[in-house]
């Protein structure tokens, strides 16, 4: 492992900001967000979790996926291109989130070319968390605050500088010419929270019909913040937007935009039928998606334990609490499996 001093890091980041689009944690009106920066000065290196995940970089909240140009009866279609981007200061949970998105968009045929194009030009330089926040639970979801797995390069703070862990070839090309020295000693282990037990995915269907979901959803506001803050939630909507229209010449953008399964009309089909008509059904989908559908479809949990939804939810729908409730309910049902009360809900 190599070592980089704080000063050298600043210089390096300044150069990166100059050469490519550098995205890093930056304060925007007192809110920490991953946004593009023009110099190292803007970057916040202190340990905090940006309000939004870095999902926006790989899957923007709205992006054109196709440009349509129509001249008379001649139509031409162009796909957008994407420039090189480096995300610096990415937290391991966010890198984990991007890794899950990679699984969804490029890990399975047919791949999403638009995502692939952008993703390929992105390099991830991470920053370990020295300590988990109270609402963090990445360790329960297979992560670690200093997990290098999903990065190209991971920095970990040591005295006077950072330990540089170069993970991939992509990272190596970036770091090699810095001529860094070998580090002396090991960086300290992060302080971690107690691990939550997560109910195995195959048991979740047992609790699908439980009354629990309706009761949980009673206080849900059906906003979309949990999905939009989530590093993994990837549902999107597609629509065309006219940018110019005429009989001889027209231009349209096909846009894809974030969407969320908690929205009331998310699942409504043409004609008005809504197969997920109740709040409970919609909120249940959110948790089943993360803990059952994702594992089934992508062999990977749909939650990375970043804790953002826990922090942000204004009505305290707490994913850790849900995990605990579900585990408890499952265990209870296992114990009293044959008892006549088994059909009752979790809260009964």
């Amino acid at each position: 492992m190599k070592y980089i001093s704080r000063e050298a890091l600043q210089t390096w980041l300044d150069r990166l900001a100059n050469d490519v689009t550098l995205i890093a944690p930056r304060l925007v009106d007192d809110i920490l967000l991953y946004q593009s920066v023009s110099s190292a000065r803007e970057i916040v290196l202190d340990y905090t979790r940006p309000k939004m995940s870095a999902k926006e970089v790989v899957l923007p909240s709205s992006e054109p996926i196709l440009f349509v140009e129509k001249r008379g009866q001649e139509v031409s279609l162009t796909e957008p291109s994407s420039g090189a981007q480096i995300i610096f200061g990415l937290r391991p949970c966010d890198a984990h989130g991007i890794a899950v998105l990679d699984t969804v968009f490029v890990g399975q045929e047919p791949i999403d070319l638009n995502y692939a194009r952008r993703r390929e030009a992105i390099t991830l330089i991470g920053l370990s968390c020295p300590q988990m926040r109270e609402d963090c639970f990445c360790t329960s979801m297979g992560g670690m605050p200093n997990d290098p797995t999903h990065f190209d390069v991971l920095l970990t703070e040591v005295e006077d500088g950072y330990a540089v862990n170069t993970v991939t070839d992509k990272g190596r090309t970036l770091v090699d010419h810095l001529n860094l020295e070998e580090i002396k000693g090991e960086p300290a282990e992060p302080i971690i929270n107690e691990t939550e037990s997560v109910l195995a995915q195959e048991h979740w269907p047992d609790l699908f019909a439980d009354h629990y979901w309706d009761l949980l959803a009673e206080r849900c506001l059906e906003c979309r913040m949990c999905a939009y803050l989530c590093p993994v939630c990837r549902c999107f909507d597609v629509q065309d937007q006219v940018t110019q229209q005429g009989i001889s010449y027209s231009k349209y953008d096909r846009l894809r935009c974030w969407d969320s399964c908690t929205g009331t009309n998310y699942r409504v089909v043409a004609g008005g039928h809504n197969p997920r008509a109740t709040k409970g059904q919609r909120l249940r989908n959110r948790f089943f998606c993360k803990f059952h559908y994702f594992p089934v479809e992508y062999d990977h949990s749909g939650c990375v334990g970043c804790g953002r939804c826990i922090e942000a939810c204004p009505v305290n729908i707490d994913i850790v609490e849900v995990m605990r409730d579900i585990s408890r309910a499952f265990n209870a049902s296992q114990i009293s499996n044959a008892s006549p009360d088994a059909e009752k809900g979790v809260t009964a």
Binding site: D29, L221, C223, M225, G263, E311, V320
Partner: protein
């Protein structure tokens, strides 16, 4: 009177209401997963003791009446809910009553005298000793509508009701425009502000219709601005100033400023304060004798 006894009174009445089957549910507050307060829906007497009342009870529970609208049943099988309201929340009831979104006989209102809610309420580890801005300027500490009043009425002195607007109002227009654009830019269009608002009860928001002429699907600053201005205007003379929209905003947009400004102008122009009574918004009524705009 201490808060403890207010909480006891609430629990007592909730028990009575559920025991006598006067209501099928009591909407109130309980402790959340990490010490914060969260909305509670109590269906069974056994659960009543989880109801709490303290200075962290920030949520405007009236917004949940939207979800159970239409499930009340016919008059013979009247299914009522009891709801705990603070003075500010109670004004939202009046707005909904005026707009025929709820019927008075469907709800049992437990009005609580309120001494103010603290900042950071509703979020884990954020609670402070400081009162929320809306509470500092709140002059009516007694609900305007209730079946049971809990607590002793107090009448605090309020100095300047619109002090929060002063800074912005003093800015030159261009600076003001820049200020707001910077705010909108942060918006992620999660619609939490709309969803938490008791006044935003349209089944399909006009800014989210597939054929919307107002806002495209893109998440650009123009779309965000149109949404926020449109929403603020739709709430003009209807917003009761619970500021929940601002509290829930994950991007911390100062949405209450817009609403508060409109409330100020509605008061100045029409001498009307939303929620005082279950009355029509002045924007829906005719000019009074001698009233003439813009002349």
């Amino acid at each position: 009177m201490t808060e403890f006894t207010l909480q006891d009174q609430i629990r007592d009445r909730a028990k009575q209401l559920l025991a006598s089957e006067q209501v099928k549910c009591v909407i109130g507050y309980e402790h959340g997963s990490r010490g914060q307060v969260r909305p509670a829906f109590i269906h069974q007497i056994n659960d009543v003791d989880s109801l709490v009342w303290n200075q962290g009870c920030t949520h405007n529970l009236v917004t949940y009446l939207r979800d159970i609208k239409g499930t009340f049943g016919s008059d013979e099988h009247l299914q009522r809910v009891a709801i705990i309201v603070k003075p500010c929340d109670s004004r939202a009831l009046n707005v909904l009553l005026a707009e025929k979104q709820i019927e008075r006989e469907h709800i049992y209102v437990i009005g609580v005298v309120c001494t103010g809610i603290v900042e950071g309420a509703g979020y884990a580890g954020q609670s402070s000793d400081k009162l929320q801005t809306r509470c500092v300027r709140c002059s009516d500490r007694v609900p305007v509508i209730y079946d049971l009043l809990v607590g002793e009425p107090t009448h605090p002195e309020i100095t300047d009701d619109y002090v929060d607007l002063t800074e912005l109002e003093a800015m030159p227009p261009a600076e003001r425009a820049a200020f707001w654009l910077k705010q909108y830019e942060r918006c992620i269009l999660c619609y939490a502000c709309r969803q938490v608002c008791p006044g935003c009860y349209c089944s399909t928001c006009m800014f989210e219709r597939d054929d919307s002429l107002w806002v495209g699907i893109a998440a650009g600053v123009k779309e965000k601005e149109a949404f926020h201005l449109g929403r603020a205007y739709h709430l003009a003379a209807r917003c009761i100033g619970c500021d929940e929209c601002e509290r829930v905003c994950p991007m911390e947009l100062p949405l209450s400023l817009l609403n508060h400004k409109l409330a100020k102008e509605v008061q100045r122009l029409f001498h009307y304060c939303a929620g005082d009574e279950p009355s029509q918004s002045p924007l829906a009524t005719m000019l009074a004798e001698g009233e003439e705009f813009p002349a």
